[in-house]
């Protein structure tokens, strides 16, 4: 019996995975770019196979679904595209400081919903009572506060009791969803729908409903980049993320950093909730965030926690989501098609990160390996 164990210990596996740090940046980026190109071809081919349209027709449909009649000077669809990017990007930006700190905040969904709830409550209850600028300020403050509170609760428990933040933030999502459901019941009465509120809406700058949303997220992107890269707090976040012991050793108050970072993460989710409610729907329901809080996690990772790369990743994911949905609608396909495609592309991107950071060493065919 012991014999076989020793033999096993000697046997080399077929392959093993080795971490590598030696890949030059240009090469890593080239691999990513090529992966994206291949992914887009794969999307085209899969759509072709399922719909029977030609490759170019497939992409024509995708472009028309995303950009509409852009070349005829109609920008409606472009604005919609940018708006969708803005929301997903805002959530990803909100998650990034937490994830960089290796605090697995899976609660963007709930934090954004609570921010949205604060907005809609202000819009309904204070809509007619406050002058517009004051109302908007109150909406912004309460939304930020609501998101921050929802984010800071798991952080406090993590910092003091070392609870598992993944489970904690997930559970907070369900609580938020149920609170929203109850509020919708209170205000929606027998119909389960809150009709859009006309007070406390973001103004349509330049005749466009989504301009302010896009502007806010643009500012968020730049500020987040500077915060993470050049501020002392941003540095503290990366040190805590690398090693809490190192952080402690060089005199960083880890508990403080965890709570402060989650405060920021939650607050930004709260802002996103406000963008959704005051800037877009003017109403709320349990699906207002629509699972994007989870997609945002992927965006944050794929973007290497770099806000500008995240912009590109979001643009790709949203392009596929809208475009492939259009292909599915045109070919009268099931809408799951869009989800499958986006899933495949994300899987490919994640896979390519794996091969950038690790290499696979195959077993050498050495006959003398076996004793």
């Amino acid at each position: 019996m012991t014999n076989s164990a020793t033999i096993k210990a000697h046997r080399e596996p077929l392959f093993h995975v080795v971490k590598r740090d030696d890949m030059p940046a240009w090469k890593a980026w080239l691999i990513r770019a090529v992966t994206i190109v291949i992914a887009f071809f794969l999307v085209g081919f899969l759509s072709m196979a399922v719909t029977g349209e030609s490759f170019s027709a497939t992409y024509e449909i995708m472009f028309s679904g995303v950009f509409g009649r852009l070349f005829e000077g109609r920008f409606t669809m472009l604005w919609k595209y940018l708006q969708e990017i803005a929301i997903l990007l805002a959530l990803a930006l909100a998650l990034t400081p937490a994830f960089k700190m290796k605090f697995w905040n899976c609660g963007a969904e709930g934090q954004a919903l609570m921010g949205g709830l604060a907005s809609i409550i202000c819009m309904i209850e204070l809509g007619n009572k406050l002058p517009y600028p004051v109302l908007m300020a109150v909406i912004a403050l309460t939304s930020i506060l609501a998101g921050a509170v929802w984010g800071i609760i798991p952080a406090i428990f993590k910092a003091i009791f070392n609870t598992n933040e993944t489970l904690f933030t997930l559970m907070m999502n369900y609580i938020a969803t149920q609170i929203i459901a109850y509020y919708v019941y209170l205000k929606g009465g027998g119909s389960n729908v809150i009709n859009p509120v006309s007070e406390g809406n973001f103004p349509a700058l330049g005749g466009n409903d989504y301009f302010i949303n896009i502007l806010i997220v643009t500012v968020m992107t730049v500020v987040m980049y500077i915060y993470l890269k050049y501020s002392k707090q941003g540095y503290e976040i990366s040190v805590v993320g690398e090693s809490q012991n190192t952080a402690r050793y060089i005199g960083i108050n880890v508990k403080k950093v965890i709570i402060r970072t989650m405060l920021i993460s939650g607050a930004l989710c709260g802002v996103t909730g406000m963008l959704l409610v005051a800037g877009k729907d003017h109403s709320i329901n349990i699906n207002s965030v629509g699972g994007q809080g989870f997609t945002a996690i992927l965006i944050s990772w794929l973007g290497q926690f770099n806000p500008f790369i995240m912009v590109i990743m979001t643009a790709i994911v949203i392009f596929l989501r809208i475009g492939v949905a259009k292909v599915a609608d045109t070919a009268l396909l099931n809408s799951s098609f869009s989800e499958i495609i986006v899933g495949i592309v994300i899987l490919m991107l994640v896979g390519c990160e794996f091969f950038i950071h690790y290499s696979i060493k195959f077993r050498h065919n050495k006959k003398e390996g076996k004793a």
Binding site: K27, L30, I31, V34, V37, I38, F41, G44, F45, M48, G52, E53, S54, F55, S56, A57, E60, S64, G68, R69, R74, T76, M77, K80, A181, V184, Y185, G188, G189, G190, S191, N192, V193, N195, P196, D209, K280, D281, H282, S283, N285, N287, S288, G290, A325, A328, D329, T330, L332, N334, S335, S336
Partner: protein
């Protein structure tokens, strides 16, 4: 470096593939710009029996009328509905926009205000008769008549069970899986119950709510709970296959909704009522083609062909069901039977002579309109969407769910 080269070669190959593929262009559409185009906005896709019912009708009506149609599925009840309407108009050039879910309504009205030249039609909504937006229209059907007929089939089945000695008359209890405790669902299960009661006077009914229009697991569990609670026949007003499959597994007869489930439930499916939207779609297309105004609030009936029953599954239904349904249907048509005749039901032991329902949408849900005339509760008379929301005797609500 070798690997890198291989990778680049693969990409180059893909390009050639794509080039070959694009040689065949299949976009011969968009040539006839003058043709009428209808845009449909659906809440889910064909996996939901509710949306599938609309999708089938859209296809049938547009093909019969020879018009183009474009659909958008999975459109949530949010600003996304407005955006979808804008896309359908600006990109696809639609002349009529139709949306199928209750929560789409307000966003559709906003779009209707922005595009006064496009006609907007909306199923199940309540605001058209008060909104004052000329190109926005509501539509529904008197599905309570269909439910009543389906109830008759259920009552016949109960009678058969009583006669066969399977149950005693006082054990004739039906179960009903509803989505939400709203007028639309209440009106539905009450008419179903009254239909059953008209042939089986001792019948009782338990109702459970799932809190969702589409949740297969919850609907299944609700049906199972009702069955173990002593219900010998199940019907439902929710959109998944949850309740029908639970019935098939348990061998309990099922009266379905939205369409036949006989393929999945060959031994237990009796009959199903559904709204056929084809007549309405044809009507709205015809109106636009002729340049006539579409009715603000349209109610389809048995007569218009909007309220229909599927084929009866003789394997599960009681003998003589088809004949009885035909007889009752004739009486509904000539007006000798009224579904919500107050002579046939009571609320807390009292026969109602007057009732105010919330017909006009307002923030406080004010009960604004008298709906009982000459001893009959007139459903769908003051607006197309149902407003019957009385808890009548004989029906027990095991829970409630307002969402």
């Amino acid at each position: 470096m070798k690997k890198l080269l291989a990778l680049l070669l693969v990409v180059a190959m893909l390009f050639t593939f794509a080039a070959c593929g694009s040689a065949k262009t299949g976009s011969d559409a968009d040539t006839d710009a003058k043709e009428l185009t209808v845009g449909f906005i659906f809440l889910h896709d064909e996996q939901s029996t509710y949306d599938k019912n609309f999708m089938d009708a859209a296809k049938a009506a547009c093909e019969a009328m020879n018009v183009k149609y474009v659909q958008k599925t999975q459109i949530p009840e949010s600003k996304d509905c407005y955006d979808a309407a804008v896309e359908l108009i600006e990109v696809n050039g639609c002349d009529i926009i139709f949306a199928d879910s209750f929560g789409h309504e307000s966003f559709l009205i906003d779009a209707a205000k922005k595009y006064p030249d496009v006609q907007f039609c909306h199923a199940t909504g309540t605001q058209a008769h008060t909104a004052g937006v000329k190109n926005f229209h509501n539509a529904f059907a008197s599905i309570y008549e269909g439910r009543y007929l389906a109830g008759v089939a259920a009552g016949m089945k109960l009678n058969e069970m009583i006669e066969a000695g399977k149950i005693t008359a006082d054990k004739a209890k039906m179960g009903y899986v509803g989505a939400f405790t709203f007028a639309e669902v209440i009106s539905g299960y009450t008419s179903f119950y009254l239909g059953a009661k008209s042939v089986c006077p001792s019948v009782k009914m338990d109702v459970k709510f799932t809190g969702s229009w589409y949740d297969e697991q919850k609907e299944k569990e609700a049906a199972q709970a009702l069955i173990s609670g002593g219900c010998v026949l199940i019907s439902q007003h929710a959109d998944s296959m949850g309740a029908p499959t639970a019935c098939e597994t348990a061998g309990v007869p099922n009266v379905s909704y939205n369409g036949s489930t006989v393929a999945a439930c060959p031994n237990t499916f009796i009959v199903s009522s559904r709204i056929d939207w084809t007549p309405y779609f044809k009507y709205m297309i015809e109106c636009v083609e002729k340049g006539e105004a579409i009715a603000t609030d349209w109610t389809g009936t048995i007569e218009t062909g909007s309220v229909v029953l599927t084929d009866i599954n003789t394997k599960a239904a009681a003998a003589g069901t088809a004949e009885k349904i035909a007889e009752v249907k004739a009486k509904l048509l000539d007006g000798s039977i009224k579904v919500f005749d107050t002579a046939n039901w009571t609320e807390k032991g009292v026969k109602l002579t007057s009732y105010k329902a919330d017909v006009d949408t307002d923030a406080n849900f004010e009960k604004d309109t008298e709906v009982i005339e000459d001893g009959v509760f007139y459903e769908s008379k003051h607006r197309s969407a149902p407003y019957f929301d009385i808890q009548i005797d004989g029906i027990t609500l095991l829970d409630t769910n307002f969402g």
